[in-house]
Amino acid sequence: MRVEVLYFAAFRDAVGKDGETCELADRSTVADLWGALARRVPYFARFPVMPPAAVNREYAGPETTLVAGDEVAFLPPVAGG
């Protein structure tokens, strides 16, 4: 199945793009997606734990199961205001 992954701020700079479509096994979780990204992107591999994630614009834990077409974002530490 395919999901849309979005990158912001420092994560976008590290990956070099705003987002991409990722191919994953059915019933993959947010943690599975992070693992796949960390294997490919050295910047992500350095994170001791998965950063906060959002699925379809809501915060979602690592065990959240993804479905085809989900919009997933891993979020650098926020610093608004």
Partner: protein
């Protein structure tokens, strides 16, 4: 719409009070000329727009549930801001001042920790970095 790429009409937020409100507490976050001892020339605010809107709406709803007498107005700027410009403005109006202060303070605290907005500081030497509040 809580996010805007135009200057925030801070004075406009002063008109939020209803005739039953005796207290207005307004917080304004302003771009300052330095951070952690390094000079800043400007800041770029970037948001995960749709999620930031949802998160701020959630904060407003949460606080309205906790303090039904208080009404909140929130604006957050995105894009390139110069020193002295308002990055965020929050007005809390209430019959009494204790709740106005409490809700205004809670709103900015929650915004700073849960709303997906990031800022990149630009320095006089041309360098820049993403602000990481956890570092």
């Amino acid at each position: 719409m809580f996010l805007t790429d135009s200057p925030i009409d801070v004075a406009g937020l002063l008109r939020e009070a209803r005739s039953s409100d005796g207290a207005l507490c307004l917080f304004v976050g302003v771009v300052r000329d330095s951070n952690d001892g390094r000079a800043t020339t400007s800041i770029r605010y970037e948001a995960y727009g749709p999620m930031a809107e949802t998160q701020i709406a959630g904060i407003v709803e949460e606080l309205a549930g906790e303090h039904p007498d208080v009404r909140l107005a929130i604006r957050h700027r995105v894009g390139e801001l110069s020193v002295g410009e308002a990055s965020v403005a929050i007005a809390a109006v209430s019959p009494h001042r204790a709740e106005a202060f409490a809700v205004c303070r809670a709103a900015i605290d929650r915004i700073k920790t849960t709303v997906p907005i990031w800022k990149k500081e630009f320095h006089p030497d041309g360098s820049s970095d993403w602000v990481d509040p956890t570092r």
